[in-house]
């Protein structure tokens, strides 16, 4: 697939509302992570604005509500890792990038072969390798192109592009890219995933540079983080229930 064709496929992806893009840009600039996610008005507005946009991802064997939950789960995970584990001031940017991290799948979805018509992923290969073998591009690359099309900030574009390989993000963005990477992985590990590619991505080795394993991490910090991601996800998804949010 040529870059022109990828561009064309991105053009065919449903445009998000302008207000939704504005909110996510505003959120990405914000440094207010003091309040709980479900009490942060900007986060609530952004979540409400984006939830209806998420539809089924046929190529990833995923229905719309599940796709939405995966993005919301990754956003909550990214925000909590950025603020609580990495101590970053711009955690809302991580949340915003988590909320949109897999939008590139909407460009590729219809062009991926069905499970019964494709070779399984070879041992040692990732889903990114498989996507590239099918359509020449991976969903992070397509996502970055979409984010640019929608006029999102350069930081958001980069974080979407590098959410599976934070090592390759520009140096100043690496900790945030790691937060989005881990938010995505933690969502997958708790089954909040797009089914076809669940757990088919490696952990980036950069995680070891930022997170040191000790007894406290293992017994308290990490389990508590997973517990809080689940709780915050349920609360935030609850605010969308009136507009078609799904059961967690």
């Amino acid at each position: 697939m040529s870059k022109e064709l990828l561009f064309k496929m991105c053009q065919e992806v449903k445009q998000p509302p302008i207000r939704a893009c504005e909110l996510v840009i505003q959120l990405a600039r914000s440094q207010d992570m003091d309040k709980a996610f479900s009490k942060n008005p900007l986060i609530l507005d952004a979540v409400r604005a984006w939830q209806p946009w998420f539809e089924k991802l046929t190529g990833y064997e995923c229905d719309g509500p599940t796709a939405w939950l995966h993005h919301l789960g990754a956003a909550v995970g990214a925000g909590l890792v950025a603020s609580r584990i990495l101590g970053l001031p711009n955690a809302p940017l991580a949340f915003a990038a988590g909320l949109l991290h897999d939008v590139g799948k909407y460009a590729l979805s219809e062009n991926l072969p069905k499970s019964n018509q494709s070779q399984p992923i070879s041992e040692g290969k990732t889903f990114l390798d498989w996507e590239k073998a099918q359509v020449n591009y991976s969903h992070p690359e397509a996502g970055a192109m979409l984010a640019k099309e929608w006029g999102l900030s350069d930081d958001l574009v980069m974080l979407i592009q590098h959410h599976h390989q934070p090592t390759e993000a520009p140096l100043e963005l690496r900790p945030l890219a790691l937060a989005v990477h881990l938010g995505d992985i933690f969502a997958m590990m708790t089954g909040i995933d797009t089914p076809r590619d669940n757990m088919a991505y490696p952990l980036d080795p950069i995680a070891d540079q930022y997170i040191k394993r000790d007894a406290r991490w293992e017994m308290v910090v990490y389990p508590k983080l997973l517990l809080d991601i689940d709780s915050d996800l349920r609360r935030l998804n609850g605010v969308c229930e009136g507009q078609g949010g799904t059961r967690v």
């Binding site: 990732t126 389990p223 997973l226 517990l227 967690v248």
Partner: protein, 157 residues
Amino acid sequence: MLGLGELAISREPGSILKAMALGSCVAVVAVAPRYRAVGMIHVVLPDSKIDAEKGTIQPGYFADTGIPALLAQFRSAGVLNMRDLVIKLAGGAKVMAGNATFDIGKRNILACRKALWQNKMAPLGEDVGSNFSRTVWVAVDTGRVFVDSPGKGRWEL
């Protein structure tokens, strides 16, 4: 369908208990063939010490509270001798290329085994670890336990 941290038993003919897309979570499946009863827990974390209140409200969330709660439900349903239960474990995967820093799946498996041992029980079958997602289900009518995984197919545990 059992969501994160949910626990259930069933004796209703034709019904199925299912835990979807287990990553690091573990499904503890219990079958009482003589009673035509099955049970399942969707365990998320190993130890309730991090949130004792949650462990009380939703015991299935943790291995250490979930397994005693499941056994209590079987007793309430008339399965008094725990030797009548066949236990199987599935799930507890870890992220590809991940190391022990993020391997909560392994801790979940160990905590489930420990909680079973404390009740003088052990799993008869396990399909645990590795780095793929599993959906696990058990049917009341047959007591057979199956595992589905995207791209890998289905097998019986």
